[in-house]
């Protein structure tokens, strides 16, 4: 019984979204926009749940001195500092309780919230992202070991694509005459990316698209209920 109401709401909302895809007439389009606004509002409320969870988890770890509890102090400090400076001096577009923070802007060039965001947060984010380069190298090293015919093919195509995108690749095949233009490494690389690679990606996208339709139908029709904790 607990699941009947959510399932009815899911069915109606799903049907409405589906029908509105094909009917441009009012009120379908406005109803869809309305539902999207509802989602935003619910998400807004849910953010509070997330913050409560974050605080609860970190306070819990500090209280019981769990492994790595000192990191929780850093997390909580960062959370409250950002919250405090945001409330007191606001952000770039909004003033805070203490106004626009003109004196602080004169000394550090930005409002404290924007300063921390720009000079600490963004750099930390960039640092995490830059790790990707090293992880790609280690993953590629393992992936390109030619154990089987398939992995050997992968290795060869990877080498061609990588070389084709560098000046070395261009110079390696520059001696070839114009009539053999198709054998130039950048051209082979482009061919691999444009045809076999695109074909493979499209096959995955078509399969995923069908999967999404199938899953959506299962959810809308109430056949699939485990996402709300149902039995099926």
């Amino acid at each position: 019984m607990n699941y009947v109401l959510p399932l009815i709401i899911t069915f109606l909302a799903g049907l409405l979204m589906l029908v509105s895809e094909f009917i441009p007439h009012k009120p379908f389009e406005s109803l869809v926009s309305e539902l999207e606004i509802w989602f935003m509002i619910i998400s807004g409320f849910a953010i509070v749940l997330g913050q409560i969870s974050l605080l609860k988890m970190n306070i819990f770890k500090i209280k019981y001195k769990s492994e790595g509890w000192k990191y929780c102090i850093v997390t909580l400090s960062a959370f409250f500092i950002m919250l405090l400076v945001g409330i007191l001096w606001g952000t770039e577009s909004q003033a805070g309780l203490l106004g626009g923070g003109e004196r602080i802007i004169q000394s550090i060039g930005e409002k404290p919230f924007d300063y921390i965001f720009k000079y600490i947060y963004q750099h930390l984010m960039a640092s995490m992202f830059s790790l990707l380069a090293f992880f790609i190298a280690s993953a590629a090293y393992r992936a390109f070991i030619a154990r089987t015919l398939e992995s050997a093919l992968l290795l060869v195509s990877a080498i061609i694509v990588m070389l084709g995108n560098t000046s070395v690749g261009t110079s390696m095949t520059s001696f070839l005459p114009q009539s053999l233009n198709f054998l130039h490494l950048p051209n082979i690389s482009k061919f691999i990316m444009d045809y076999p690679n695109t074909a493979g990606q499209r096959a995955i996208i078509i399969g995923a698209g069908l999967g999404i339709i199938g899953s959506s139908l299962r959810v809308i029709l109430g056949i699939e209920r485990s996402w709300i904790g149902g039995k099926k």
Binding site: A139, I204, I206
Partner: protein, 375 residues
């Protein structure tokens, strides 16, 4: 006889002339035309004018709701059409005037036209999509009914899902937790929903094996859903007291902040099995490689084609695209859900046939099928 034919022609020549003049009048192309844009919600009108008008001088479009014209816009060179989108259109006649001016800005000539914007009840451009959707839906419903009647449906094995129990068993034996990551998108993404359905099945196994399950999430809505799913799974497995609310927690909405948190959990907690099932972007490899380095058995799945190579390189099992959406049905062994998978396979068969027919037709220069599906 000849006299009669002559008389007959004389009588009818006037009728023929009248028809020709009428047709000319009906099909005469006006210099400035306004018509309702088809397949829309009645908020757009299409304006078109002859190229010859633009050659004369500058063009300015004026608009009116009640014969009081105001300038709508100056038309740049080499533009011969304009779509006026205005949400205030409500089935009333909209009047337009096209002014042709010389370089000095003096009015040379003007043309008037009007139209009534109308909302359509069906977007004809999406007819092919509706047809495909109906075929697929009927196939799914048909196979669900077949499964209900007890027909044995063959579903190919998905190794990554068969290994789910093995991974949980390994974690239990090693006394280490299982980590589940539902991706970085919110509940409005179908991949996240698919991830959560698998989480339910996984949670039942961890409950049965008395193994700890850690679920860090990046969206607050996913947090609520994940808690509900895991809690119900533990109750259904008969171990409600084993459920640990604190093990399902929110980290951050930020993509790389989330990945930093996940890496920290993997390094500190050293889970023996990692499940990365949902929507992933640039963070996929960072998490998967950290998991690989920690020695965990890893199962990943996403429908993002750009992230799949990373998962294939770093994880033991990868659910590719549709397999992620099929996972819940596959694990449930529920005939109805398996029937829907069979329906999806039928849809794939239809698409394969359409592609083959389309390619053959295109080779022979016939674009009917391509044109039908291009919208």
């Amino acid at each position: 006889m000849i006299m009669w034919i002559g008389e007959y022609m004389k009588k009818n020549v006037f009728v023929l002339l009248f028809i020709v003049v009428l047709l000319c009048f009906l099909y005469a192309k006006e210099e400035f035309r306004v018509y309702d844009l088809p397949n829309d919600d009645g908020t757009s009108l299409q304006l078109e004018w002859d190229k010859s008008l633009a050659d004369v001088g500058q063009i300015e479009i004026l608009k009116s709701f009640d014969n009081k014209y105001f300038t709508l816009m100056q038309i740049p060179d080499n533009v011969f059409q304009f779509t006026d989108t205005d949400s205030s259109f409500s089935g009333k006649t909209i009047y337009y005037r096209l002014d042709v001016k010389n370089k000095e800005g003096e009015l040379i000539n003007f043309y008037k036209a009007s139209a009534i914007p109308k909302a359509q009840w069906f977007n004809m451009q999406k007819l092919p999509l509706l047809i495909v959707l109906l075929i697929l839906s009927f196939a799914i419903v048909y196979f669900i009914n077949s499964a209900k009647r007890g027909k044995d449906l063959y579903i190919r094995r998905i190794n990554g899902l068969d290994a789910l129990e093995e991974a949980v068993g390994r974690s239990t034996e090693m006394g280490k937790p299982v980590l589940f990551v539902p991706g970085i998108m919110d509940l409005d993404d179908m991949q996240t929903i698919a991830g959560l359905t698998i989480l339910g099945k996984l949670a039942e196994k961890t409950a049965e094996y008395h193994c700890r399950l850690i679920v860090p999430v990046s969206k607050s809505m996913v947090l609520s859903a994940a808690k509900e799913v895991v809690k119900t799974a533990y109750m259904q497995a008969g171990y409600p007291d084993e459920y640990q609310d604190n093990d399902i927690f929110y980290l951050t909405d930020d993509q790389f902040g989330y990945v930093a948190g996940l890496d920290g959990i993997i390094v500190r907690e050293k889970p023996a099995a990692n499940f990365l099932l949902g929507c992933f972007y640039a963070e996929s490899l960072i998490v998967a490689e950290t998991g690989f380095a920690s020695g965990a058995i890893q199962t990943a799945g996403t429908a993002e084609p750009s992230q799949l190579p990373f998962f294939v390189a770093s994880c033991d099992y990868t659910l590719i695209g549709e397999e992620l959406f099929a996972a819940s049905a596959y694990l449930s062994k529920d005939p109805q859900q398996l029937g829907s998978l069979k329906g999806q396979d039928f849809g794939k068969l239809v698409i394969i046939l359409l592609i083959i027919v389309g390619v053959v037709l295109e080779i022979f220069g016939i674009s009917v099928l391509k044109d039908f599906f291009t919208f």
